[in-house]
Structure formats: structure tokens, C-alpha cells
Amino acid sequence: MFEPVLLKNINTPDSHRIEVYLKNGGYQALPSALKMQTDALIQMIKDSGLRGRGGAGFSTGLKWSFITKDPTIPKYLCCNADEGEPGTFKDRAIIEKDPHELIEGMAVACYAIGAKAGYIYIRGEFACGAKRLEQAISEAYKKGYLGKNILNTNFNCDLYVHKGAGAYICGEETALIESIEGKRGQPRIKPPFPAQVGLFAKPTVINNVETLACIPHIINKGPKWFASIGPEKSPGPKIFGVSGHVKRPGLYELPMGTSLREVIFTHAGGIRDGRKFKAAIPGGVSAPMLTEKDLDTSMDFDSMAAKGTMLGSAGVIVMDDTTCMVKVAMRTMGFFRHESCGKCTPCREGTDWTYKVLRRIEHSQGKEGDVELLESLCGNIFGRTFCPLGDGAVMALRGALKNFRDEFEYHVKNKRCAV
């Protein structure tokens, strides 16, 4: 039985308070980190093998190392807490139940990259989470873990909470930066990358909540301990969020690389109401779905990519044999259509068009050639957009078409559902 690391305190009463965090060994990593040279600290994170938990899986230590060492240039840390990928609800647990784990991780990260300020971009709907964070930040200031001359060193660090206002696209890092700058959340063209020109046009690191929450544990237990959990190339504890047609939906913290089958059938209790498994979306709706034959795939960045999908946020959406894939695809594309920021044409028009075609198929008005039309639309969106939103939409739709093409064709031909 794997002992939870990131979520170990969430069921403790008042786990969001600093006293409880301290009692459970909190704020021991920050003093250790402040005794280290920043280069050694960044090397330690590299050695741990930690890869970004927001979905892209980029090496966190490497990301930190891209930031200039020039002390005259201000630098910033942003925490991406704009958790909005449908099927994902892991960061909310850390934010509401163990905010100090995140704050300590952020303080260490700020020290490592030489940032004097960090912004937590939290989605506007997480009102409770934002309050908890503000309260926790104020507690940390009072105890001297934030502010000026932290723990009697010359390290200064301020953290701020920035509340979003309901835009999925702000989870994209450059849109997130635009949004903190008080603008419409529309992505910027890259390069320049945020490590060179980021928040307020300064070098910036953007890390996901779960990524930053791993940091104190890596400092306390060592990079070797972290690297020893799960697959060599994407190690560490990982929070899997399981939703949909399972007996026990919820969060399960398990070693990276646990099989999809084990996550769904052992931990989440298998399919509810005596139904059969049909498909699972492994990492939030953008991730192409997997079917029965892929259940034994290891849930880590590389194994998921090898199957043509992605680990993403590890938000596993499980569907039983009563699920109509045309409806799922329509609802998914309806989401992307709503959330497309409108900046570039292939995404704005493409998601709208695919949604409309799917809607007519679902409502028994599909025309011959509609499935081919969807495929052609996908080809005209994928790889032609400013940011990954359009690609994510196409990946999701292509996943459904690849695995369940016959259902789409049945709908078009018979004007009704095969399920």
C-alpha cells in the first residue's frame, strides 16, 4: 500500500491552518533550502526527475535553470492554479486542504530562481480556495516564512493571490500571464518563452500546484527517494482524479506509473451498477480516450504518449457501456467552442464548426460524409493554432473517432444511437 505524500494531511482536522502544518513537519524544507546554493538546489530538483504535473511533463529543474542568474533583473514565479481541464480536481484539494504545502514549495522555488515575488493564479470559481490561500499566506508572513529577511537570511519573498474570472484558456501559461497583467486571457506567440519574457516582461517560471507541492518533500526526503517512486523517466507520487461511471470516484495518490486498470478497478472500485467498461479518458478531456485493450498501460508521461494519448492532468474520466460517444464528443467540442479565446481563426471557427456537425449527428440530422467532414476539420485545426487549446480539442475528437468510428457512422446512417 502506497503511503500518500502530497495528500497525507488532507483528512486531518484544520489541515489548512499553519499550526497543523507545522505539527506535521511543515516548513522544514524551506530552512534547508535556504542553506543551499541555488545551483545545487536546482540540480537537486533536476536529479529528482520531477516533471510538471500540469500536463506537459517538462522537467521542473530544467525549467528553473532557464532563468537568468543576473541579480539586477527582477524575476517572477507564477503558480498555475487555474484548474479547469474537465475531469481534473486535484489542485483544489491541495489548495483547500493543505495550502501551506504549496506556499512552502513556492517560497523554495522563488529562492531557487531568484524571484522576490510569486503570484498564484487561482480560477475565480474556487472562492473557498482563494480565501484559504489568502489566510495561509497571511499566517506564513506572521511566522516569518514570507516577507523580508525570511528566517534571518537576506531572502525576501512576497506571494499574492490573483483570482481568475472563468476562462479555461488562462491555464495556458502565456494567457495566464496576460490575465495576471489584467488583460484578456489570450495566449502570446512563443518565442520569446516566459523564461525570457514572461510576467511584466520579466523572466518567469510557471509551475502547476501539484508540481510545487512536491518540492518540500523532495527537499526533506531527498531526490533519490523521489526518483525511486514509479518509472525512472517520470517518477514521483501522482494524484489521480477518477470521475464518471465508477463505484468510488475521487482522488487517489499513487506512484506514477500505476496502470490504468489498477486506478479504475482497484482504487476506484470498478464500474458501477454492474455495467461494463467501455472507455476512459486518461488525463482530462483533451486526452484521447483509451479502451479495454489499453487498460494495462502504465500511467506516466511516456507510456501514455506511446499509446497516442497523454497523462495530462491525470483526471481519469471513466465511461461504461451505456455511454454514447457521439454525445461525449459533442459535449467535449461544445466545451472547447465555448472556451476558445477567439484569437486565432482555426480554433475559433474550427471548434464551432465541429460542434455544429456533431450536434446535427447527435440530433439525428447527420448527413452522409459528416464523419469525413469532421476528420477534415480536425486536420485544418491541428498544428495551425496559436496555443494548444485547438490541438487539445482535435486530439479529443480524433480519439473518439478512432476508437468508435462505427458509432458515429451508425448515428449518421440510422438517425439514432447505437447504444
Binding site: P86, G87, A165, G244, P249, F335
Partner: protein, 154 residues
């Protein structure tokens, strides 16, 4: 007109950022909490505090779904109908609420108590179906517990 308290809160928000205009999102939310919705007049006043043109602020307000351009009821009920909630009957929940309140989605009851909206994922998929009423999440919804929740709202 914004109250002294709202003006103070906007000033505090400005302190979080290197430039005044960067505080536009916080400022919009503070103004909305006080005024209910963001009218042209409110936008003008906030823009003035941030040293930007009202049109600049308006384009921000228009982009994000949580800024209300028209007033909503005392209780804003937002039902998630995204995939994980939909798999567990979110459309049925939305329909039930619609019948119960006698309004379609996007509408407000004549007594201005309830506004019903369908929204995208609220990050509560493990406890689907769910809805948000003002700041609070209500999870694992059934017809029965919705009745109870609505009764509890004064």
C-alpha cells in the same frame, strides 16, 4: 458610485501589482460584488481608478464569464454540464432545476431570487453532478437533496 470600502479594497488590490492597470481583474470583481453587475457607469469609475480608458476595461470585462454584464438573482445557480457531470446525469439536474424554478437557463426568476446558468467544468468531478450557488459548491446532487438545498436558501 462605489463605496469608500470598495475604493479602499481596489486600492489594496493595486498594491499587489507593479502597475495600476494590472489590478483590473480584482477591481472588476470588487465592483461587481458591490454593484451586482458591471454597468457602463461602474466600468467608467473603475477605469478611472486604474488610469485606463473605460473601453480597455470593458474588453477585459467582456472576455471573462464571471463578470456579470447584467444583474443576476440573489442566488446564482450554476450547474456544471461538462463531460464528467454529464455522464452522471447533469442535464437531468439542470432540467429539474429549470422546472422547479420556472425559468430557462440564463434566466432570472421574476422575484429576482434565482438565476439559473449552465456552466463548464467547475473542478469537482469526483463528486458529480454538482452546482455552484454564489460562492458555494453543492455536490453529489440528486432531486431530493436539491429540494433540501433550495429550501435552505432564504
Amino acid at each position: 458610485m462605489l463605496s469608500t470600502k470598495a475604493i479602499e479594497n481596489i486600492k489594496k488590490a493595486i498594491d499587489k501589482y507593479p502597475r495600476k492597470r494590472f489590478a483590473s481583474m480584482d477591481a472588476l470583481m470588487i465592483a461587481q460584488e458591490e454593484c451586482g453587475c458591471l454597468t457602463e457607469e461602474v466600468l467608467r469609475e473603475v477605469a478611472h481608478m486604474l488610469d485606463i480608458a473605460p473601453v480597455q476595461l470593458n474588453q477585459v470585462a467582456a472576455f471573462y464569464t464571471m463578470y456579470n454584464k447584467k444583474s443576476v438573482g440573489k442566488y446564482h445557480i450554476q450547474v456544471c454540464t461538462n463531460v464528467p457531470c454529464s455522464l452522471l446525469g447533469a442535464e437531468h439536474i439542470a432540467e429539474f432545476l429549470s422546472k422547479k424554478l420556472g425559468v430557462k437557463k440564463g434566466e432570472t426568476t421574476p422575484d429576482k431570487r434565482f438565476t439559473l446558468s449552465e456552466v463548464e467544468c467547475l473542478g469537482s468531478c469526483g463528486t458529480a453532478p454538482m452546482m455552484q450557488i454564489n460562492d458555494d459548491y453543492y455536490e453529489n446532487l440528486t432531486e431530493e437533496n436539491i429540494e433540501e438545498i433550495l429550501k435552505g436558501l432564504k
